[in-house]
Amino acid sequence: MKDEEWSSLATARVRALIIAAAASAALTALIYLGSRRLEHYDAALFGYTVASVIAFGAIIFRYAIWLRRPATRRYWLRGWQLFLDRKNLGRNLRSIVGTAFGNLVAQRFILRRSRTRWLMHALIMWGCIISAAITFPLVFGWIHFELEGARAYRAYLFGFPTVAVDGRSIVGWVIFHALDFTAIMVIAGCAIAIHRRLRDRGAIAMQQFALDFAPHLLLIAVSVSGLMLTVSSLWLGGYMYSFIALAHQALVIMTLFYLPFGKFFHIVQRPASIGVELYQNRGREMAQARCARCGAEFVAQAWLDDLKGVVRELGFDYRLKSGRTLQDYCPRCKRVMRGLAYAALAQRSGHD
């Protein structure tokens, strides 16, 4: 690497570090305020809190570094630009809601890939999302419960009273055992995933232990240790409770620190498809680029210009003699042009 590249990389790192530190500080402030100046904060959960704050910063750091990729940056800017374009507000919102629902919630694209994988992913994803939605507010002291009367619990959100639930009713039982259900969902999902990874030939060839197995094993370990907490307190009179709690905490913290890396990063990265799809939807209405050779419309002109910009920024120079760029041709014409260049060589040297 050249000196200037090094220094630009270094400044990028420093900038990302500052953003990440600011994000961690903001989260800390929110925890302080949301728990009413720590009034509802449970000091026993201090370890989880520190880990969450650090992991949050790490994710933001990774995101900031990711946005440094020329292609990513361009999509990011274009996505916001198109979104903020007032003229198309209605259609933009429709595109965004459509993508958010179809891709992020229903995940139809995974269904198209395979049904079992959709089921597997839905189990793991909803298991994790529901668990996170329950535990983080509890850990941060944003939600807490107070006993009201003999057996009703009232939930407080940021210190404001909300609904009360009867601890012995079915609803109460479901709420207080929600984490057990989500743990079972995650375990089932991971079991499907591991089963597939051990049997599918394509998956076997591609997978790497650290990337593809470790996350599943980690999630299973978190879920099982969480379930064991329930088992210990319900049926074993608290046997080994503090040891299990410690193990559970260690596993959760490991998982949190794993988030910015490898497989888990797609959780934070995937919502970018909202911007990508917005560009594609808008792009369909824009002027289309025609292949310089066969004349077929293949992509939006503005999109192609962006792509050519990215390719240039990366240090490639695909300019041809005529001043056109190789990317002005549709994929098929690129293949044919190469074929013709080859045929011309072969002919010249008297083969054929």
């Binding site: 004349g295 190469r338 260049a341």
Partner: protein, 203 residues
């Protein structure tokens, strides 16, 4: 991997065989294109050339395309690929394909499931003429007289080094691709018969 387009007879056995590959089940990732059906029956088989500095991987906003330890440029990682089609339109060889419904890019990965076990890629194992051959340089090259394995293409001003070799006439060092004359009338008519999805690399 060695490609000798002069031996290609356009039988498309490779196209069918490619569908059987475990890493992109049911979808063929190899192309056999007619060059100019008005003038010649010549066909051009195209697989991923596994560039040393892959344009596709660098233009990917999601960092979804990874290179294996042996230099094989892999298909996009499924959890990451956003179906943005940057790679599809940036690749100088016109190789990666995309599928909107699955939100996925797929490309030739030299049958990673097979080559990792020492087997030949599907296409090379069925090609009847040896246009597609897989093997070690020392084994293949001495058996092919009159051709020279070359792994450099020049597209306009860009030099692209690849891990896959192309067999060229003995006196050539590289293959230069630049603009050729406009397609002939007959070819452009036939071209129009090619499905539009094929031009855009949609599968």
């Amino acid at each position: 991997m060695f490609i000798d387009p002069r031996r290609c007879i356009g039988c498309r056995a490779c196209v069918s065989a490619c569908r059987e590959c475990g890493t992109h089940k049911g979808h063929s990732m190899i192309f056999v294109d007619y060059l100019d059906r008005g003038h010649t029956t010549a066909t051009m088989p195209t697989i991923c050339m596994h560039c040393v500095e892959p344009t596709c991987a660098l233009v990917c906003p999601a960092d979804a395309i990874k290179v294996s330890e042996d230099g094989v440029v892999m298909t996009a990682m499924e959890p990451r690929c956003l179906d943005c089609r940057n790679c599809v339109n940036a690749c100088p060889f016109g190789v990666p394909k995309y599928n909107t419904a699955m939100h996925l890019q797929m490309k030739c990965d030299l049958c990673f499931d097979r080559t990792a076990e020492g087997l030949k890629p599907m296409c090379a194992s069925v090609c009847p003429t040896g246009a597609l051959t897989y093997g070690r340089y020392e084994e293949i090259v001495p058996r092919r007289r009159g051709v020279r394995p070359v792994n450099v293409h020049v597209f306009g001003r860009q030099r692209v080094a690849t891990r896959v070799y192309l067999m060229l006439p003995i006196e050539e060092d590289d293959l230069c691709v630049d603009e050729t004359a406009e397609p002939s009338f007959r070819e452009s008519w036939l071209d129009a018969q090619v499905e539009n999805a094929d031009k855009r690399n949609e599968f």
